[in-house]
Amino acid sequence: MIMASICRALHILKHYRCAETWSFRSTSVIATKRWKTSSVPPKHTAPIKQSYIEDRPQFPGSKTRSWSEKLEFTQPDIYDGIPVYRVMNREGKILDQSQDPQLSQEMVTNMYRKMTLLNTMDRVLYESQRQGRISFYMTNFGEEATHIGSAAALNDKDLVFGQYREAGVLMWRGFHLEQFMDQCYANIGDSAKGRQMPVHYGSKDLHFVTISSTLATQMCQASGAAYSFKRAQNGLCVMCYFGEGAASEGDAHAALNFAATLDCPVLFFCRNNGYAISTPTKDQYRGDGIAARGPGYGMAAVRVDGNDVFAMYNVTKEARKLAVEGSRPILIEAMTYRLGHHSTSDDSTVYRSVDEVNYWDKQDHPISRLRYYMVNKGWWNDDMEKEWMKESRKQVMEAFQKAEKKKKPNPELMFSDVYDEVPLHLKRQMEEMKGHVSKYREYYPLDNFEKWDS
């Protein structure tokens, strides 16, 4: 009699446990989209005992598989910081031969030329702003390797969303010097029709989404674009660059979380250059940089030496493979140093020491490091350097002079592209502007602009 009731009780328990296991599993399948365990409820008795004995947390909100009877806070410094991956040292020596990407002489020389050409363009345009010839400029000094190394490892059709300090990516993809200059001068050659401040480049042909000033706004847009790519199954990924300062914006949080939960093939590339204008990273965050946030979002992350173009290349290449093949986001944090001022409207000597800047300029510069490597290989020497410096300066100056001579676009272009078609009220406002300016023409800089019809 007693035996029978125990059996009955066990029987009930069995059904109860089975049902619980079943419902738990099906929820977890929906929640994680992973189907590792069988969806069929177990028919034998073993799991009952197991789940009865294994007293595990069943909360839907975490991956936790164990309880703890000890009160312990997870401390932020449980490890020594995510290590910085590098391929070559400051003298351009490959440290572990297995990590040498074995790029051809032609490719490496091209990388070097693009890095230095960017540097030369920066110097000329920086000076031109100082002389009042363009209104604004932002240099890329010290971050050339992050641009060229990462861009070289992408498919040229991967869509790039940037912040503003990634001109090297465009240069790698073939944006002409004159196109850079035309945008900075906002002349008729600017494909964006002179509407934005300098360095807000964009190129449809080169799959580089037009830059906007608003920080981090591009980040979740990149997640959305990557979701589109996943649905289109086009084998491409999206690359999203941002600074460590921008990573403090709410949009960064949204971007990483959306990319992870919606399984988007996007690479988040953080340029951690130590400063957001005057704000040092100690005022920006207290965790282990940006990379440490990756696992918190359920995302693989890696930290890399941003002054090592080969490390940049390797990391981006592998991250791209993981993202496209696994349809998932990857977080890359490139450690580097912002050698130049934040922009032409900033004097960085007010908030950091000249010694600090000199260290990065003289001892650990991405361009000199690659030059050491090339010299060691016998691919580069002082004569070639001299000749290329002369040649690149000539190219930059030619483009510069051409751009300076071009007129500004027709003022009518102030009204187009607000919408796909110019709506009635804007047509009326355009006519009003033209009528007004015609009446007071001596007070407007009409000679610098293309003429409108009639």
Partner: protein, 322 residues
């Protein structure tokens, strides 16, 4: 169909006719908290109708990104009151994407749907009508339907329009407004107001739920005052149909604009200023605005807050007797 069913029907057609189209937001997967997306996930798959994390700035930005990459993105913000975390993405990004890039890139495939307006007991954060905030933003289209037939046609227009559109749905009408909605695929023109009741004495301008109050008031004015009101549903708040309203006011000589949102800097101010500019010689009385007061939207005081038919009726008496 009621309003939520006509919206579901519109999204159903959009998803069926455009393989790149997706519908997403907070809780849309199971059908949405207002049932607007019921059945769509089962019909089109979890990759086309899906939940997002709870972040409005993320939802808007994600939609912009999808549209930039060539998809049609229909994003839902659960209540218009919660659209403000996405304000930066809407104002600085979506609205300016085409202009700033010289048309190299655009996010015209983006439509943002959000339930708006008073609902009887929504208090501060389930009642707002934020259209005027967005009407100040060149590059956006802002659309508000008054019922199921309008909702379907206007939503399909928004989804297919090559500009980012914000589509505000008066949530009190979700279940209460029922009409014979054509099942076929049809669109209604944006930036085109509709003259609902013709009249000769006063022009009444409104949008969304307010249109129904204005029609009731027009009926009352006709019966009690022998005043014939012309009722206009603006439908699109930006870019709005100035000519239809101006033409009507030139005929009637009097104009009242009414909306639920607070009066100061509400869209009624724009209508009033434009009408006095366009119809100065025809106006027989000042343009009046009957709107919400300049307070947050209150809970128990809602009946006193609303620009209801009695407040509108009083305004008609004022412009007639001016």
């Amino acid at each position: 169909m009621n309003l939520f069913q006509s919206l579901t029907n519109a999204m159903d057609i959009a998803l069926a006719s455009d393989p790149s189209a997706v519908v997403f937001g907070e809780d849309v997967s199971f059908g949405g908290v207002f049932r607007c997306t019921v059945g769509l996930k089962d019909k089109y798959g979890a990759d086309r109708v899906f939940n997002t994390p709870l972040s409005e700035q993320g939802i808007v930005a994600f939609g912009i990104g999808m549209a930039v990459a060539g998809s049609t993105a229909v994003a839902e913000i659960q209540f218009a009151d919660y659209i403000f975390p996405g304000f930066d993405q809407i104002v600085n990004e979506a609205a300016k994407f085409r202009y700033r890039s010289g048309s190299l890139f655009e996010c015209g495939g983006l439509t943002i749907r959000a339930p708006c307006g008073a609902v009887g007991h929504g208090a501060l954060y389930h009642s707002q009508s934020p259209e005027a905030f967005f009407a100040h933003v060149p590059g956006l289209k802002v659309v508000i339907p008054r019922g199921p037939i309008q909702a379907k046609g206007l939503l399909l227009s928004c989804i297919r329009d090559r500009n980012p559109c914000i589509f505000f749905e008066p949530k009190i009408l979700y279940r209460s407004a029922i009409e014979e909605v054509p099942l076929k695929d049809y669109t209604l023109p944006l930036s085109k107001a509709e003259v609902l009741d013709e009249g000769t004495n006063v022009t009444l301008v409104g949008w969304g739920t307010q249109v129904h109050r204005l029609r009731e008031v027009a009926q009352m004015a006709h019966e009690k005052l022998k005043v014939k009101c012309e009722v206009i549903d603006l439908r699109t708040v930006l870019p709005w149909d100035v000519d239809t309203v101006a033409e009507s006011v030139c005929k009637t000589g009097r104009c009242i604009v009414a909306h639920e949102a607070p009066i100061t800097q509400g869209f009624g101010a724009e209508v009033a200023a434009t009408i006095q500019n366009e119809c100065f010689l025809n106006l027989e009385a000042p343009v009046l605005r009957v709107c919400g007061y300049d307070t947050p939207f209150p809970h128990i005081y809602e009946p006193y807050y609303m620009p209801d038919k009695w407040r509108c009726f009083e305004a008609i008496k004022k412009v007639i007797n001016y």
